[in-house]
């Protein structure tokens, strides 16, 4: 039944992103045009609250429900990997108006053709796996 928790959290996340219009292509376009505060408010408030949550976890040395300490691993340092990878992702994000989460939520919203976007994203991920050793990291 443990697995059910993830399903419920996913459902809450899916409803929220749908109801706040975050899964809309138009909202992403509007964000990159700086024509509304909406998306900045969503991401900004999530980060501010996220910083508080993570500080609480670290300072109280909180444990996860199975009793293990919560470890948040620092990401490896690099510039090229994050910058180049980030730019490539950003190009795709603005084109399809969907990042990986919203892709799945759009599918639930009946946008069937998003399956093609998901399939293309899988192909992109696979291609990265093939080229990984040749790319600067």
């Amino acid at each position: 039944m443990k697995i059910l928790r993830y399903l419920i959290i996913g459902i809450i996340f899916g409803i929220t992103l749908a109801k706040a219009e975050i899964i809309s292509w138009y909202r992403i376009y509007e964000m990159f045009k700086f024509q509304s505060f909406h998306m900045y408010g969503v991401i900004g408030s999530a980060i501010v609250l996220g910083i508080i949550f993570i500080q609480i976890i670290k300072r109280k040395k909180m444990k996860s429900i199975d009793g293990k300490p919560i470890e948040i691993y620092p990401k490896q340092h690099s510039v090229s990997r994050y910058l180049i990878g980030g730019i490539i992702f950003g190009l795709g994000w603005a084109m399809t108006g969907a990042c990986p989460g919203p892709m799945f939520i759009l599918l639930g919203n009946g946008v069937g053709v998003i399956l093609v976007v998901i399939a293309a994203a899988l192909l992109g991920t696979y291609t990265y796996g093939l080229l990984r050793n040749k790319l600067p990291h």
């Binding site: 749908a18 948040i72 795709g92 759009l106 992109g124």
Partner: protein, 191 residues
């Protein structure tokens, strides 16, 4: 109950959505995992057998089942919102955005979740539709894995932990997004 349904059927403001996203991240940490949706794309490649041809996908994907279940929840959440909680398909974008998209030939901007003229099966056979959906999807999959995360893993989880790599990635997301929106989309949308 009906009043409640009507109440939550309105579009949700940012100050509701942002905190819920932070709580989702917090809950996943309390459950002993971390918030990062694009990892599912790698897991799905592994399930489809990519580990046989590429060592990057040769890992124990069963440890990621919880994340696939989470993604399954996203689909169900989208369905629930769509069927029960969204009386109107309208997206409440600004007038300036509507005007800009009008000028680029997009019909009725904001009248549905996505531009209907692009997000349909026939559109895949047009240059514009193929580029936006297939090339766009490919760039997302390639870019997230190269950068080691997407909006959830870097912008939310990473920035909440004040990690510099995530800040660099998010700067990259915006460079790419701004280039696309301001320099490429005006040509692509009018194709």
């Amino acid at each position: 109950m009906n009043e409640f349904i009507n109440f939550i059927s309105q579009p949700w403001p940012w100050y509701v959505a942002g905190p819920v996203i932070a709580l989702v991240m917090f809950s996943l940490l309390l459950l002993g995992n971390s918030f990062g949706i694009s990892a599912n794309l790698r897991t799905m490649c592994s399930i489809f057998g990519a580990g046989k041809t590429c060592e990057f996908f040769d890992f124990n994907w069963r440890s990621q089942i919880w994340n696939l279940i989470f993604a399954g929840g996203l689909i169900i959440g989208g369905l629930i919102a769509h069927v029960y909680l969204t009386p109107s398909q309208e997206v409440h974008i600004s007038q300036a955005t509507i005007n800009d998209l009008h000028a680029l030939g997009v019909e009725d901007p904001g009248s549905s979740l996505v531009p209907e003229s692009i997000f349909n099966w026939e559109s895949l056979f047009s240059v514009r539709g193929f580029i936006m959906l297939v090339v766009g999807g490919f760039l997302i999959g390639f870019g997230t894995r190269y950068a080691g995360g997407c909006t959830s893993g870097h912008a939310i989880s990473g920035l909440s932990d004040l990690q510099l790599p995530s800040l660099i990635a998010v700067v990259g997301f915006f460079i790419g997004g701004l280039l696309m929106t301001h320099l490429v989309l005006p040509h692509l949308l009018t194709l």
